[in-house]
């Protein structure tokens, strides 16, 4: 009785989640009439706009990751070490991007950093790229911060720091040589998640008018029939890849205990 119910719930889940995946895969292969082919994929990969926007988004993602790590790791470390009383508040702030819709945040950017403001970031393509990167870092903040903070919890920050200091290490050395390697898995998890978020992000890029992958997909979706399905498969593959890498690095950590 109980088992039937459990299998029922699971079956529903499997059905609901596989149908769209089957649907998009099936559709993406049907560009040629009457036969399955990779035509849609060939078209997508051959499209120079695809290559441009994809490269753009990958670059953005990489910069976002670097910026995010540089921002979050020292902060989370410092708060654990010196300002533990502040943790709940910082945690609250880092969770805000889950509550405030991205479209509201980017709307604020547009109005706050327009050409006539004190910091006219949207005035130039370069400035807008930077702004978009900050926006992505904001979106990724909840995930990055949580990942790093959880990673820091498993090591004894205070003892490691004192040990390093007694050997004459400065703050940069401590962070780069002691703390970072110890939370590397957490940082990598945060990084892959950031990558997955940034690569297909639509709202911010579209409203800031940047040639990113998300808006490209949307544009293609509005004008074509089969290519969007191929894009969906590709995007799903990328997401799967990122999450798979997270699993991989965490498993690696389990088998190889962190060096102290």
């Amino acid at each position: 009785m109980k088992k039937i119910w459990a299998w029922g719930a699971l079956l529903f889940g499997i059905l609901y989640f596989t149908l769209p995946l089957v649907g998009m895969t099936n559709f993406s292969l049907k560009m040629r009439r009457g036969e399955y082919s990779f035509e849609a994929y060939a078209r997508v990969f051959g499209d120079p706009r695809f290559q441009e926007t994809f490269t753009y988004s990958v670059t953005q993602a990489l910069f976002t990751i670097v910026f995010g790590v540089l921002l979050v790791v020292p902060t989370a470390y410092w708060i654990r070490l010196k300002l533990p009383g502040l943790r709940p508040y910082v945690e609250f702030v880092t969770l805000l991007p889950l509550v405030i819709p991205a479209i509201v945040i980017v709307f604020g950017y547009i109005r706050l950093y327009n050409t006539s403001s004190w910091l006219p970031l949207t005035g130039s393509a370069f400035g807008t790229n930077i702004l978009l990167m900050f926006g992505y870092a904001t979106l990724a903040l909840p995930y990055m911060y949580r990942a790093v903070d959880t990673g820091l919890r498993t090591i004894d920050v205070a003892t490691l720091t004192e040990a390093a200091q007694s050997l004459g290490a400065g703050w940069t050395t401590i962070l780069a040589r002691i703390i970072l390697p110890n939370v590397l898995v957490a940082v990598l998890s945060g990084a892959f998640l950031t990558f997955a978020i940034v690569i297909g992000e639509f709202t911010m890029a579209a409203l800031l008018n940047r040639p990113a992958f998300g808006p490209y997909m949307q544009l293609l979706g509005a004008n074509r029939a089969y290519e969007p399905a191929a894009l969906a498969v590709i995007a799903f593959g990328i997401t799967w890849g990122c999450l798979g890498l997270i699993q991989l690095v965490s498993r690696f950590q389990k088998s190889a205990p962190p060096k102290a």
Binding site: L19, G85, R111, A137, P228, L231
Partner: protein
Amino acid sequence: MSTAHISARSPARRLPLHWLGILPFAAFVTLFLILPTMKIVVGAFQTPDGSFTLDNIRGLFTPSILAAYWISIKISVASALLGCLAGFAISAAVVFGGLPKGIRGPLLTFSGVASNFAGVPLAFAFLATLGPVGIVNVFLRSELGIDLRALGFNILSFWGLTITYLFFQIPLMILIITPALDGLKREWREAASILGATGFQYWRMVAFPILLPSILGTLALLFANAFGAVATAIALTGSSLSIVPILLFAQIRGDVLGNPHLGYALAFGMIVVTGVANAIYIWLRARSERWLK
């Protein structure tokens, strides 16, 4: 806002040097999270020349804008509730249902992927599935002679959007609730049972109250998640379905409402709605969690 007044009050008590360490973070958050949000909030109460007004807010109370909010809230509530329900059922099936142990790992991995598979590609996937020429429609029409469209189903609708959103809502619920279900100790169930409780009494009096904070938190998160979802909606419906995020998107792009400051009010309304949802959550949580403080 509570964070602002905390950071304004405490520095005197500690060495200022300590505070330098979080300066970059504080600056970043202020510039790219707090200030932009404040800008919207303030702008909602300003005329174009900067003086205070309630006209923008009043401007929201037109039938079309109210309808947009209403359908947005309905979709968000429905997809959050259904997501919670389905996610809970699947998670409970795996944790307690006596299913093979091997299912659990893949389920969690898949949930991680699916909860992040949102936005434009998700819309494409559902168009290819439930759209007019999607796999389900085609199958039902050719094999069973059922025409979903004739029956009134349209993917560009309340239900269409809700079903699509569930694709990331359910996995999110699974990811959050599975650890919570794991946290239910076997001894609690056994203690309840040996004290004479039925399975239902155990769930009503012990398990559910213990899970409630997690469930409420997830509900609030799922609600905000759906309420702010722009990409999926736009890629799925173009602009044929008037929900708030789509309206705001169009307004930011081209001032379709014919009043720039009405955009502020629209965005402010979104903050208010998600804010209220979270306030309700925090209030309920405080009530249900006296035993955890």
